[in-house]
Symmetry: C2
């Protein structure tokens, strides 16, 4: 049976609300995900929250009931609370029906089976949580094997990244590593490392991408360091016909990933 919390002062409420902050996520090794759609994606991917908050008004929704049942069966805690407290937890005036607290999970490079997918996404020093989530969402759509994060990237477990991923955080393996470690791992097996760059004459449509292709996207403001470019098997550029000299990082990743997908499906 779900228990009830109706007091803002409850210490559990404070500790959950703290998960909006990176430092607290690191300490608790937990993160927040909001909304019935995303929590249902998570459940279907085999990830259940350790804490599930919902309001009385949504308690009878069949997907909420399924979540409550499965969370409790897995030893988690399903907690009925007030709309005000849900607002406080989600930081939004109009909270979605449910908020889940998940244990952080991690995938290591050596856990990846590179032959399982034709496309792998690699991002270095990605700074924007919206871009992080959107790249995960695109990765899911193109059937990418995972997202490999290089260097000092924004936290993929931040509330904004989880939201923008629309649940893909739960379906796509995410690895956090460093450039040298990644490159060493990459060279122990098959795989073509393709970097997006402005300093090349190779149009992205003219190149050929063999599976598995690892697509490297650099930092939003600076692109990738020249040393990284030197480590790539191929640099390609996306044509820019206007005044601006670059695309949004998530957009550039998606344009590339769909070109690779189209070639590999042919």
């Amino acid at each position: 049976m779900p228990r009830e919390i109706t007091a803002f002062s409850n210490p559990l409420i404070k500790s959950v609300r703290d998960l909006r902050d990176k430092r607290h996520r690191r300490e608790q090794r937990r993160f927040l995900a909001e909304g019935l759609r995303i929590l249902t994606e998570a459940r279907e991917a085999g990830r259940l929250p350790v804490l599930l908050f919902f309001a009385a008004a949504s308690a009878d929704h069949p997907l909420v009931r399924t979540l409550v049942t499965e969370v409790e069966r897995a030893g988690g805690d399903a907690i009925e609370t007030t709309p005000d407290i849900l607002s406080k937890l989600s930081g939004k005036d109009n909270p979605q029906a449910v908020v889940g607290v998940f244990d952080e999970f991690e995938t290591r490079l050596n856990d990846l089976d590179r032959t399982a997918a034709g496309i792998w996404l690699v991002a270095e020093r990605l700074r924007d949580p919206g871009n992080m989530g959107t790249i995960l969402r695109t990765g899911d759509a193109v059937g990418a094997g995972g997202l490999i994060l290089i260097g000092d990237c924004v936290d993929p477990f931040s509330v904004e990244a989880v939201r923008a991923s629309m649940g893909a955080l739960f379906t796509i393996p995410v690895v956090r590593t460093e450039w040298a470690t990644f490159l060493t791992w990459l060279r122990t097996g098959p795989g073509q490392l393709v970097g997006l760059s402005l300093d090349t004459e190779h149009d992205y449509r003219g190149a050929r991408y063999a599976a598995p292709t690892f697509l490297l996207t650099g930092n939003e403001a600076q692109g990738m360091p020249s040393g990284y470019a030197a480590g790539c098997d191929l640099l390609v550029k996306i044509p820019m016909l206007g005044k601006a000299d670059s695309l949004n990082a998530a957009v550039a990743t998606a344009v590339m990933a769909y070109e690779v997908l189209a070639q590999q499906r042919d």
Copy 2:
């Protein structure tokens, strides 16, 4: 000569700060743009702010000096102010060097020359300002003739949209209109209306796009209404191989737009 404002209580500062709010933008018919890069893009596109705020520390930057000279030559006001006030105007702790206040501008459907570009972007009920700006930025990159907004879209002059556009708001015409008006205008001349949809068997890579192609992207959560789909010449879908059933709206628009561009360049 630039004048100086150092008091938070100055009524001009309040009226500029108010421009972060949609209601005040509508009343004043002005909007904010921040950052030397975006303001320089605007200047190069022939758009100068009526008010330009900068801090003493950046007064000697050559691009700031050019902006000050041109703003004053055009009858605008260049105002030196404190870092604190710049923070207040930009809503950020670490404000970029300059903040500009621009008169709103508008393009009407009948001002567009549809034969001037092979690609036109059309978005209906776009709700997210980041998506709005990113679609403008992509539009610039693919050489789109303009962005046509249908129905109740987020304000393209919001601070977040201007920022995400990276200056493309100043280089790409934006038209705000209604569906019936748009469709009537469209049918008075050449142009293929292509809608992104989940309810079609046509893969976007298999279709052929003749110039001018008008690419219609629907609302982030709901896609386009079925009546709009019926008005399209062609519906296409982007393959979704994962768990999710849709892409981010700006990503989907970009994947489509680059496919059209690739075909039209061949």
